[in-house]
Symmetry: C2
Subunit: 421 residues, 2 copies
C-alpha cells in the first residue's frame, strides 16, 4: 500500500463526462489499496471566463481580489470530482488550499509556498477518505488572505503535498502520454521517454517543453518526489521523472530530447559604450521592469569607436515593456539604437550524457548547418545546448537535430502532442 498523489489538469476535468472518467481512475487507485490525494485544476476554460469577467469590470483589478475570484474555479472542480467519486460508492472529502494547510508568501497572483501543514488531510486519509485538494491556491501566512501560486500552480500544489505527506509518487495527468524526445506535431517519430532525470526535465521545461512546469520540477527535485507524467485518457505508464544525472549509467543514451520555444523575442542594443558596468545598467533597467531575460550575446567590441552591441532574448509578451524601459534610460546608458525582433525561435538539445561525450556541440552545429539554418545566438549548460534561429526555420531545426542524434522511435507517435505543448 502506497500513498499516491494525483494531479488532473483543466482539460482532464473540462466536462461532467470527463470528471466521471477521472473519478473512475481515482476510485480504481483507491481500490488497489492505496491512499489517494488528488489535486484538481479548474475546469477547462473557467479561469479564462473568470478573468474575462474581471476585465469587464476593472482594467486593472487588485491582485488580492483576483485571487479571491480565481480560486473559486478550483473549488468548483474539486467539489464536483468529490461528488463523482461519491456516486461511485467511495468516500471523498474536498479541501480548499487553506484547509489543506498550504501556507504561502503574500505576493498575490504569484505566491510561493512557505510551509505545508496537511494535518486535516492526514486525518481524512486515516479515516479512509479519498482526499481532494483545490490546486493553485493557498493562504498567506502573514495576512491570512487567499493567494494563488501563479503559472503551473496546480502542479506545484501536487508536488508540495506529495513532499509534505511523504508520498510514494506524484502522478501528473494531462492530455499527453508523457515526455517525448521532441514535439510529435513537429517530429512524428518522436519517442516517448520512459525515464528522465530531474536535471534533464528542468532543462527541457526551461527550454519550452510545456508538459511540466519548471517550478514543480524544481520542487520535486529538492524534495526527491518521483513524478510520473501520464495521460488521463489511457492507461499507459507515461514518463517517470526521478533520479539525478550523477546516478545514471554511462551506457544510457547521450541525448534525451529536443525542445523548442516560440514564445521569445530578442532585443539588440547597438552602440553601447564599451566601458565597465554598461551591460549591468541595461540588465538592471530590464530587471527593474520585472522582466526575466533568457539568452545574452555581447558582440566583440569595435576597436575604433569603443562601442559594442548587446543582444538578449525575453518573453515576447514583455517586449514592449522592455523597449519602453530602455528608451527611458537611453540618456543614462548612452546607446544608439534598439532593434526589437519577434521572429525568432529557440531550439535546445538536452541530455545528461553530453557532459562526458565531446563532439556533441560539433554534431549539433553541423546538423543545423546542413539543414541551411543560421545560428544567431548560442547558449549552453552542462547538459544542454540552445540556439536562436529564425522562427520559420524552427521546425526544420527540431527535425534536423532529432534525426542527427538518432532520437526517433520505430513508429510514429500516436498522439499529436508532446514535449512542445
Amino acid at each position: 500500500m502506497a500513498l499516491v498523489v494525483q494531479k488532473y489538469g483543466g482539460s482532464s476535468v473540462e466536462s461532467a463526462e470527463r470528471i466521471k472518467k477521472v473519478a473512475e481512475r481515482i476510485v480504481r487507485t483507491r481500490k488497489e489499496g492505496h491512499d489517494v490525494v488528488v489535486v484538481v485544476s479548474a475546469m477547462g476554460d473557467t479561469t479564462d471566463e473568470l478573468t474575462d469577467l474581471a476585465e469587464q469590470i476593472s482594467p486593472k483589478p487588485p491582485a488580492r481580489e483576483m485571487d479571491m475570484l480565481l480560486t473559486a474555479g478550483e473549488r468548483i472542480s474539486n467539489a464536483l470530482v468529490a461528488m463523482a467519486i461519491h456516486s461511485l460508492g467511495a468516500e471523498a472529502r474536498s479541501f480548499t488550499g487553506s484547509q489543506a494547510g498550504m501556507l504561502t508568501t503574500s505576493r498575490h497572483g504569484d505566491a510561493r509556498i512557505t510551509e505545508v501543514n496537511p494535518y486535516r488531510l492526514r486525518e481524512a486519509l486515516d479515516e479512509g477518505y479519498i482526499v481532494l485538494v483545490a490546486g493553485f491556491q493557498g493562504m498567506s501566512a502573514d495576512s491570512k488572505d487567499i493567494t494563488t501560486l501563479g503559472r503551473g500552480g496546480s502542479d506545484t500544489t501536487a508536488v508540495a503535498l506529495a513532499a509534505a505527506l511523504n508520498a510514494d509518487v506524484c502522478e501528473i495527468y494531462s492530455d499527453v502520454d508523457g515526455v517525448y524526445s521532441a514535439d510529435p506535431r513537429i517530429v512524428p517519430r518522436a519517442s516517448l521517454l520512459e525515464t528522465v532525470t530531474y536535471e534533464e526535465m528542468l532543462e527541457l521545461a526551461a527550454s519550452g517543453a510545456k508538459v511540466l512546469h519548471l517550478r514543480a520540477v524544481e520542487y520535486a527535485r529538492r524534495y526527491g518526489v518521483p513524478l510520473r507524467v501520464r495521460s488521463s485518457y489511457n492507461d499507459k505508464p507515461g514518463t517517470l521523472v526521478s533520479g539525478s544525472i550523477e546516478e545514471i549509467p554511462l551506457e544510457n543514451p547521450i541525448i534525451t530530447g529536443v525542445a523548442h520555444d516560440r514564445s521569445e523575442g530578442k532585443i539588440t542594443v547597438t552602440g553601447v559604450p564599451d566601458t565597465p558596468g554598461m551591460a549591468a545598467k541595461i540588465f538592471r533597467t530590464v530587471a527593474d521592469a520585472e522582466i526575466n531575460i533568457d539568452m545574452v550575446l555581447q558582440n566583440i567590441s569595435n576597436v575604433s569607436d569603443k562601442k559594442t552591441d548587446i543582444t538578449f532574448s525575453l518573453p515576447r509578451t514583455d517586449g514592449d515593456t522592455a523597449v519602453a524601459a530602455l528608451e527611458r534610460a537611453k540618456g543614462e546608458i548612452g546607446f544608439s539604437e534598439l532593434i526589437y525582433d519577434n521572429d525568432i525561435g529557440k531550439v535546445s538539445l538536452v541530455g545528461a550524457g553530453m557532459r562526458n561525450h565531446p563532439g556533441v556541440t560539433a554534431t549539433f552545429c553541423e546538423a543545423l548547418s546542413n539543414a541551411g539554418i543560421n545560428i544567431e545566438t548560442m547558449n549552453t549548460s552542462e547538459i544542454r545546448i540552445s540556439v536562436i534561429c529564425r522562427s520559420d526555420q524552427l521546425d526544420d531545426a527540431v527535425q534536423a537535430l532529432h534525426e542527427a542524434f538518432g532520437l526517433g522511435a520505430e513508429d510514429d507517435a500516436v498522439v499529436a502532442a508532446g514535449t512542445g505543448r
Copy 2:
C-alpha cells in the same frame, strides 16, 4: 457617521453592468462618511448553474460537497464587486464566510449561525476599507468545514453581521421598491409601506411575502437590527422594518397588508379513529419525513362511527413525500383515505391594530363572501387572519380584502412587483 450593512441580491449583481451600478452606490455611501459592510449573493443564475452541474454528475451529491461547490458563487460576485469599487478609486477588501468569522452548526445545506466573530472585518473597517462578505456561507464550529445557510441565507448573513457589528441599519437591496400592502401585480393600487414592525413583517413573510426571508426577520427582531428594504435600481427610501407592535400609536392604521401564497397544497386524511393521540400520530409521521405543515383543520367528529377527518396544508413540493409517508403508516394510524389537493391558495390579512379592533374577522369574512369566495380553512394569530380558498379565486380574494380594508394608494404602484414576490 454610521455603520451601514448593505445586502445585494442575485438580480442586483447579475451582470458586469449591474455590479458597476451597485459599486457606485456603495462608494457613495462610503463618501457620505459611513462605514460600509456589504453582503453579496451569487450572480443571477450562478447557483442554479452550479446545481445543474452537480446533478449531471451525481443524482444525490453529498451535502458537504454541495456546500463547497455553491459557496464558490458568492466568492465570485464578492471579488467582482470589490474590483468594481476599486476601479472607482475606493478601497475594498472581500472576505469569505469563514474569514468573516461566521460560525455555524454542522448541518450542511441548512446550517444555523451559532456565533459571529467579525474581528477581521473590524480591523479592515478601522483601516478605512469598504468590507465585503460572501453571503449564505459559514464554517462549522465543530468540523471547520464550509457550510451554507439555506434559503434566505444572504439576508441572514447581513442581519447577523449587522447585529455583531452593532450596525445602525441593515439595508436589503433587491429589484422591488420595498414592502407593499399587497402584490402590485394583483393590486395595482397597492401602497408602499413606510414602516412595518418586526411582528407584522414576520407574519407577512410567513404568509407568502417574498421580499424578506422569515429567518432574517426573526434574527433582526431578536437583536433589534433595523432593516431597510429598498431597490438597487433607484434611490427611493423603501420600507423600514423596526419596532414592536407594543410601541406603535393606537391611531396607526389597523391593517398593514394582504399577503398571498400559492405554494401550498393540502392533504385531507379521512376516517381517522377519534381517539386521543391519532392526530399526533399523523403529524409525527409527517414531521419524521422532515416536512413542515402550515394550517390544520380537524372536523367535528361523526358521533355514529367515532371517526373524524384531519386536513392540513404543506409546501406543494413536499406533497408526494407526505402522501407516501402516510400511506406507509396507514396500518398503524387506521384512516380510510388520503385526499391530496394542489389547487389551493392562501390569503392572509396582517395588521398590528387588529388586536384592539373587534370586527376585523367579520369584515374579512363578509368581504370574501361578497366576492363569492368560499373559505375552506381558517387560521388566526393575534395580528393575522389566514384562509385557504380555491387557487383560481386567490387574486379575487386579495383584491377584495385590500379594498374592504381601504389599503389602496392614490395612484397605481409603479413597479410590477411587491410583497407577493
